[in-house]
Point group: C2
Chain length 336, copies 2
Amino acid sequence: MVNMEINSIIDSMQGEGIESLIIFKSANITYLSGFSPSSMSVIVIDDDALLYTSKMDMEDASNRSHIPVTEFVSLDNIINNLKGPVGIEKTLPVSIYKKICNQHDTKLTDIIETKRMLKSTDEIKYIQKAIDIAEESLLNIEICGIENEVAANLEYQLKSHGSIKPAFETIIASGTRSSMPHATISSNNLLSPVMIDWGAVYNSYCSDLTRTFIENEEQSEILSIVLESQKEAIKVIKPGIKASYVDKVARGVIGEYGYGKNFIHSTGHGIGIEIHENPTLSVNSNFKLQKGMVITVEPGIYIKDKFGIRIEDDILIKNKAKVLTKLKKDMTLNIN
Amino acid sequence: MVNMEINSIIDSMQGEGIESLIIFKSANITYLSGFSPSSMSVIVIDDDALLYTSKMDMEDASNRSHIPVTEFVSLDNIINNLKGPVGIEKTLPVSIYKKICNQHDTKLTDIIETKRMLKSTDEIKYIQKAIDIAEESLLNIEICGIENEVAANLEYQLKSHGSIKPAFETIIASGTRSSMPHATISSNNLLSPVMIDWGAVYNSYCSDLTRTFIENEEQSEILSIVLESQKEAIKVIKPGIKASYVDKVARGVIGEYGYGKNFIHSTGHGIGIEIHENPTLSVNSNFKLQKGMVITVEPGIYIKDKFGIRIEDDILIKNKAKVLTKLKKDMTLNIN
């Protein structure tokens, strides 16, 4: 984020009739400043941008932030000095919103989230690196033993390869538990299939991948349907089409094979500083795809009391889809 | 959480003139139901309690939740059926708050957070287990090599010992970087001193500890001031005293030695499902300590461009302070 970007935000503010924009959401603070707060921090943008952070975070913020930093003393004082109408985030907690409303007109705005959807060359580089770390880490572990232990090994690899933390709680769901798309990890011995959903963080940017290790013909058949669904969905991705259309295509393939009711989540979502960003690729999504978006495409089939299979890749939208993930998708398991 | 507890919440609602309470905050959902949502979930309490969760989370929620579960179909539908006045959380995002306000009177409430401050026997058991896991994990690693690698080893141990994830991003800050209380981890070789702030999660409950490994006389002198501050603070803890008084005592000792300006954060905070809960132990805290609270006491001295030392233990408030952590505090370093 450079001054040019702050200026572009000020332009958007003027377009929406907003005099000052107050930013609390951690991911938005990271986006604008490069600094990830560990305590109460606020950015205010009016004629320029200023980051307020606690005494405790001052040293770290001063080292990292691209915008000027000052000590956070009191929220009341910051609110006093805002110029109305004040732009506020949709995620702002009500308690703070009410304080601002007592003194100023407010407008809910998506300015920062809208900018964050379109990734810069640097942001794409960081996401690619987060993908590389995630892929390298998976290749460095053995898929055997207990779920918990496999996750511990995978997260150790992520961290050793430079991912400050996992992008989210690693999911390792095996056997019948793989029918829960976001199953909590267990201390069970691995059964087949083994669904692994994991990601790395590099320079604040996330990757998000899923592979399912299969063992037999029945699982292989379901995997091939999921792969066909993913392939057809990726094929239709290009700037200008509706995000909901990609979902429709992915769902259509799975529906044709009679598993429509077993695809119980949306087809994908944007990734970036947060693991779930706009645009959403779902039935009701109102987004249109644009160049520079980075999204997941992750169809799955979940058969209760039997098993589930999901495959998830990360895709940059250029003139068509550019698949950023490289790991092969037909992973087989040998747990005996 | 049993039905008796839901009844006690309904009693509090009646006391505040609230007909229905709508709960979005993930930690509050976990507290009430035992289920940790991975997607949009809501609890509504009126005459009884009902958990709404997505199709994708239905299987997991049905297995884990202590309260009845139904599929989340639409937020509008849930809001339509609320009975006003509606109690809402202070952390509720403005976008949802506005939707509710369009149809109902609302009241900001702390009912759940207030209950969460006082831990039950089971909750204390889970926190104790999270402490035990954290302590055992630290004892299993060697404090040598690079910061990143030490953190990877520590988090591997946490996970192997049953902590589903670290309670927060492990802090390993060594050398001059230890003067930043929440320094982001680096790939630097360890220098002295080495400050480690880490915690485990057991059954959704967190522990939070800090030890600083020292090497020389200068660091040892600062450590002894920090330990004296912590000891005096713990000594005054009992039900009925102000949380701000504990902060005053801790700060007083450090001030006497001339390091008042180097203690740049508050003395402690509650722990539980979240790593930072009420009560806060700070200068301006309005809380009084009560039996059943579990808090951290974590004074520190941070000398810019030199080093920082912090020690943090977890304390249950009974008739006086019961220190739940057992790890020794005079850790020395041998990095050569």
